[in-house]
């Protein structure tokens, strides 16, 4: 990390790397949450068979679709909240106390 501390263009590319990493982290986190949520809702834990049966597959498709809707809805709500609080930034839990 210390190797990025030298001329002009470099810090900006260190920032780019950090941003790309964070985006990847958010994707992974969201995928994990989605998987956890929809496996719990759609796949019983008895494991009497190794295949997904048709009902489970359809349930997973709908569950994923609703998960994306919830994600979008919540991001809209947070944006509206942030806008209502003005440009003061944060305003959430520990970050914005």
């Amino acid at each position: 990390m210390s190797m990025f501390g030298f001329g002009k263009p470099q810090p900006s590319s260190a920032e780019k790397i950090a941003a790309a990493e964070q985006e990847m982290d958010l994707f992974t986190d969201m995928f994990n949450k989605l998987q956890q949520a929809c496996m719990k809702k759609c796949v019983p834990k008895e494991y009497r068979e190794g295949e997904l049966n048709k009902g489970e597959g359809v349930c997973i498709d709908r569950c994923s679709s609703k998960f994306f809707d919830v994600q979008l809805k919540i991001s809209e709500l947070l944006q509206a909240e942030a806008a209502a609080k003005g440009a003061t930034g944060g305003g959430f839990g520990i970050g914005g106390m």
């Binding site: 969201m30 949450k33 709908r62 679709s65 609703k66 919830v70 909240e81 839990g93 970050g95």
Partner: protein
């Protein structure tokens, strides 16, 4: 954070910003996970029904209200700990 060179201060600040961003993202994904789990139980449709959308909205509002209240208690307790010597010393 005294005694840091300007370069170190910039580095420190940029790490703190990344950390806050990470915390915000963690909070967001927890909120999505929690409100989804609490509000969505009908998989006969592929889009949210009105009842679910309403539940998610209330879930977010209540989570934020609770989060703010807990945050106040947390801050008060931090302040109190600062003004008080640790027990047994």
């Amino acid at each position: 954070m005294d005694g840091l060179t300007p370069t170190e201060q910039r580095e420190f600040q940029s790490r703190m910003e990344r950390k806050q961003m990470k915390e915000f993202m963690g909070m967001f994904s927890n909120l999505v996970g929690h409100c989804f789990d609490s509000c969505i139980d009908d998989f006969t449709t592929k889009s949210l029904v009105q009842r679910e959308t309403g539940c998610v909205t209330r879930c977010v509002k209540k989570f934020m209200a609770g989060s703010e209240r807990i945050g106040q208690r947390f801050q008060e307790q931090q302040a109190q700990m600062m003004n008080q010597p640790p027990p047994g010393q």
